[in-house]
Amino acid sequence: MTSVNAPGPGAPADLADLGGLMTLLNEELDLELSADQADLPLDALPGWDSMLLLRVLLALEAAAGRAQSLADLLTAGTLRELHRAVRL
């Protein structure tokens, strides 16, 4: 397991970095994700469901400025894998 910088409040969303992804999701979707959740199964995260996945996808598209692949995102089992699936 590699380390993850804890997302700081107000930090810019840099999707190249897993911490940046968490910052984006925390700010845009009003979540409270923390670095120690990076490798937890997504289903174990509070409130994680298909509707939240949709909002994640929309937030990623807005931040990355390009379409994201739902199929790719669905292969992710953790936040770290989700970050790898993001099209930058």
Binding site: E28, D49, S50, M51, L52, L53, L54, R55, L57, L58, A59, A62, L70, A71, L74
Partner: protein, 340 residues
């Protein structure tokens, strides 16, 4: 209740062309792929006008009356079930009856959700038992006034967002009578009741007056997690209770009309009902994947699909669950007498 109710015809009316997921997704900025996968509804129809329920009901009614070979003047009552009347007054039921030329008979309007058509059929049965000969049962919804397509869906709460991908507009009609007619289906049972007293509603639809024109209340919200968890359980419970009350078995069912929420959920509920009831042989009649969730129209749309297929002596069970106040409804069509 001794008087029989015979279902003589049913028809549906949908507005405009179907809107598929690609078109809906492009319109509101959501990925069609997500709707395909997680809602499982392929298309829906949207009314152009925001007060078009009466027009849809009139179309469905004329079709149902034609199929039954009856004129509107031969009706003894009209009942309409809806959550979204065109106006609070006059009632949409009265407007439709007037347009049909049945304006001088008792007209009733039920404020209801997905169990509304069952409620309307139960009322119709009571009216037939009270001496009426023939009646028209209507159900439908036009959700357009509650769905603002011009907003940023990225910031919308999931409880609101889900409504945009689940619902569609439509209406249905059925003609019922106390006397048997050729090809009519016998109503063996019709019932409905709230089943989760004290539990928070799963769906809420607001209405606003002039003093609340700046209301920040979301027009429509759904506790979709509660719906997804409870509706399958409640559907199974209601189906088992109805079969037991009739003395029927699941194996005897020829047709099954399951609750219509979205294509994916209805598929899962149907599989659950088949297994729980032993109704593997029953043919499923569903419409939601192609029409969206049209609320009070759904059961009438299903009946319009069923009646041309129904043969003498066959047994049908329809189940619906209204998540707003957790009301289950069942309709059974079939012969008299308990099973062997």
């Amino acid at each position: 209740m001794s008087t029989a109710m015979w279902l003589r015809s049913a028809a549906a009316a949908l507005p405009g062309p179907p809107v598929d997921n690609a078109a809906l997704g492009a319109r509101i900025g959501l990925p069609a792929e997500w709707i395909d996968r997680f809602v499982g509804t392929r298309a829906r129809h949207f009314a152009k006008g925001r007060t078009d329920l009466s027009g849809l009901c009139e179309r469905a009614a004329r079709d149902a009356l034609g199929r039954a070979g009856l004129a509107a003047r031969e009706l003894d009552f009209v009942v309409l079930a809806t959550a979204t009347p065109d106006a609070l007054m006059p009632t949409t039921a009265a407007v439709v009856a007037d347009r049909l030329g049945a304006g001088d008979v008792p007209v009733y309007q039920l404020q209801s959700g997905c169990s509304g058509t069952v409620q309307a059929l139960a009322l119709a049965r009571a009216l037939l038992a009270d001496g009426a000969g023939r009646g028209l049962v209507l159900g439908g919804d036009v959700a357009a006034k509650h769905l603002d397509l011009d907003q940023d869906f990225r910031s919308m709460r999931p409880a609101q967002l889900v409504n945009y991908v689940v619902f569609g507009d439509g209406a249905g009609a059925a003609v019922v009578s106390a006397d048997r007619a050729p090809g009519a289906a016998r109503c063996a049972a019709v019932g409905h009741r709230p089943v989760l007293p004290g539990v928070a509603p799963g769906q809420r639809l607001e209405w606003y007056g002039a003093a609340e024109r700046d209301s920040q209340l979301p027009p429509a919200t759904e506790d979709y997690a509660a719906v997804e968890q409870r509706v399958p359980e409640l559907a199974e419970q209601a189906a088992k209770e109805q079969l037991a009350a009739l003395g029927w078995t699941g194996e005897q069912l020829d047709h099954l009309l399951p609750p219509q929420l979205g294509g994916r959920m209805t598929k899962a509920i149907t599989a659950r009902l088949r297994a729980a009831l032993g109704a593997e042989r029953a043919a499923e009649l569903s419409c939601v994947a192609d029409t969206g969730n049209t609320g009070n129209a759904l059961l009438l749309q299903q009946l319009a699909l069923l009646l041309p297929l129904l043969r003498e002596g066959e047994r049908t069970l329809a189940v619906c669950v209204e998540s707003s106040r957790w009301i289950t409804g069942t309709l059974a069509l079939g012969p008299e007498g308990r099973s062997a």
